[in-house]
Amino acid sequence: MKRELWNQDWFGPFAVTVLAIVIVGALKPSFLSPFNIQILLLAISVNALVAFSQMVIIAIGQMNLSVGAIGGLAAISFAGMMEVWGLPWPVAAVLSLGIGLLAGLTNGLLCAYTGISAFVITLATLSVFKGFNLGITEAQPFYDVPEMVKWLGNATVLGPIPWLVLPFAVSAVALWYLLFRLPLGRSVLAVGGNTHAAELSGISVPRIVVFAHSVSGLLAAMAGIMLVARLQLGQPSIGDDWLILSFAAPIIGGAVLTGGRVSVGGTCCGVAIVAIITQVLVLFNIDPFLVQVVLGGLILWAVGVNRIREVRGQRKAAAAGI
C-alpha cells in the first residue's frame, strides 16, 4: 500500500527543516549567506554519518553506545598513521576505515554470539576503544595533517557546497538502497521488526547483527576521518560528544527504537534540525544551557509523535480486522 506523501516518516522532519530555514533566514539574513550555508553543510555532512551509524543499529532494534569511541579511534588512527608512520592519506584513510569496520565487527560478534545485550556490550567496548585512543595519544592531538586532507576538509566543490558533502551523499544513497531495495537490507529491518519471525523465515539473525554492527563501525570511522579533515588535526576527544546526536537525529527522523523502522531521509532532516537549532542559539545569543534542553525536548516530541502514529496504525489495523 502506497502511503501518502505527508504520511512518510521523513515528511514531518522535512517540513520542520524547511520552516526553520525560512523563519531563521527571514529573522537573520546572514543565516543564508554562502559562508554560513557552507558551515551548516559541513556540520550536517559529518553529523549525518554519526546518525547513520546509530540508525543502522536502531534498525535491528539494538543500540550502539560505542559509536563515538569508534569514530574517535578511527580519527586519531588516521591522523596518527600520517604523522607517525608517514603514510599517504588515502592509505591511512583505508586502514582507519578498516579499524572502524573491525571495531564494529567485534561489537557484532559479541552481541550475536554471547547473548548479552548490545547495550552492555557496546558500553564495555566504548571503554575499550576510548582506552586505546587515550593510550595511543596520551590525550594529545596529532597535528601533522597533510595539506591535501586539510583542503578536502574545507574546500568547496560548487558555490558553498563543501567537498565533505560527497561522502555523506554517497553514504545516504547507498544506505537507502541497501535498506529499502536489497534483500540484505530488508533482512536488517525484518530482524529489527520481529526477530523471531525473521528467524522462522530463514534469516540468519546473528549474521544480520554482525553485518549491521560492521556497517555502523564503518560509518562511524568515516565520520571520524571527515572530522580530522574538517578540524585539521587529530583530536583525541573527537567522538566524545556524539552519543546524544546519534540517537536524536534518527529518532527525530522517525526511527522506532524497538527496531524495524528507520528513515534515511528523516535522519538527514533530523541532523539538519539539530544543526539549525545549534546555530540559532549562537546567532541569537541564547544561553548555551538551552542547547541541551531544546535537544532533549525535541527527542521527547519526536518519540511522542512516533508513539501516536503507532497507536493510530494499530487502531486502523484493528478496525480493518487485520
Binding site: 559562508f35 554560513n36 590525550a139 583525541p236 545549534t278
Partner: protein
Amino acid sequence: MIDIKKIATAGAVVAGLTMAANTAMADSSTRVALVPGGPHPYFAAWEQAGKDAAKDFGLGSADYKVPQKWELSLQNQMLESLVTQGYNAFLVFPGDPVGTVAIADELAATGAPVMALAGCLKDPSQAVFCMGTDTGNSAYLGTKELLKVLPKGAKIAHFTGFLVDPNTQLRIDAVEKAAKEGGAEVIQVIADIDAPEPAEEKINAYLAAHAGEVDGLITTAWVPAVVASNALRKIGDKRIKMVGIDHDEVVLGAIKDGFVHGTMLQNPYGQGYLGSYAADRLRSGCTVKKDAPFKSIALTDKFIDSGTVFAGADAVDNYVGSMQKITKDIFADFEGKYLNCG
C-alpha cells in the same frame, strides 16, 4: 603533537638548576598521583612534570592518571582505586569545585596530602592549597592585551570552555570587567565549547553571521583557541584581532602568521613539578605555614598562582623559555614562602 620534547627540556633545565639543592629531600615512599578531570591536552605536561619531579626529588613515583571521560563519578572512582594501589599523595584537578571536596577529604583522611591543581576546590576543604593559573587574572590580562590593539569602543566576543569547569565563570566575569574598564563591549559569550565538534560548529557559525560586527576575539579555553585560530586563518581576516590561550601549535602558528595577536601562556608543567615536590615535602614532615602568602580567589583563600604570561609574535618562539622562567622563579622561594620544614 604538542612539543613535549620542548616542555621536557624546559623541565630538565629547571630541574637541573634545583636538583643539587634538593637531593637530600628524597623520600622514596612518596607515590604521587596527578589526576586531571578528564582527557585534555592542557594536562599533558603534567606527565613529564611528574616524571621529572620523581627523578629530581627521589620520589617513589609521580604518575599521571587520566580518567576516561570528564565525569565526576569516573574521577572519584579512579581516585579511590589509586588509594588502594598505594598512592599516598594526590594532585587533582577538581571535576567540580564543590563535588570534589568530599573525595578530597576522604583522601586526606588516609593521611595523604591533597592539592587542587589547575582548578580549585571551594573552601572549606582538606586540600592543603590550590595551585593553578589565576584564571580570572589571565583572562583579564589577555583582554587588556587585546584592547591595546583595538580602537576605543570595540566590540569583542568571548569563546570559553566547559560550563562545569569552575574557572569558566571566573573567566567570563574577568573579560567583562576588563572590557568595561577599557571602554569595550563584550557582545557575545559562547561557552561549553572546549570540545572539537561544538567549537567548530559554533565558532564558525558565529563568524559567518557576525564577522563584520566584531572587532576582537578573546578565547579562554584550549580548543576554542585552536578552532578560532583556524577559523580566522580560513576566512583570511586579519582585521579581527584575537588573543588566545595556551601553547597549542595551531595557535602559535597563527600568531607567527599574523592571524592571531598573541596568547596567554599558562604553566601546567610548573604545576605538576612544583605540586609533586610540595607533596613530597609535606610527607617528609613539613607543614604549610600558617602565615603563608596565599592569594584569595572566589573559591579559596589558599591559592598559589602558577603564573601566566602574554606571548605575542615576538615571544612565540621562546614560549618554553617563558614557562621555564616562571617555574624557576616560583621554585626559588617556594619552601621558604609556603612550608615550615624546621
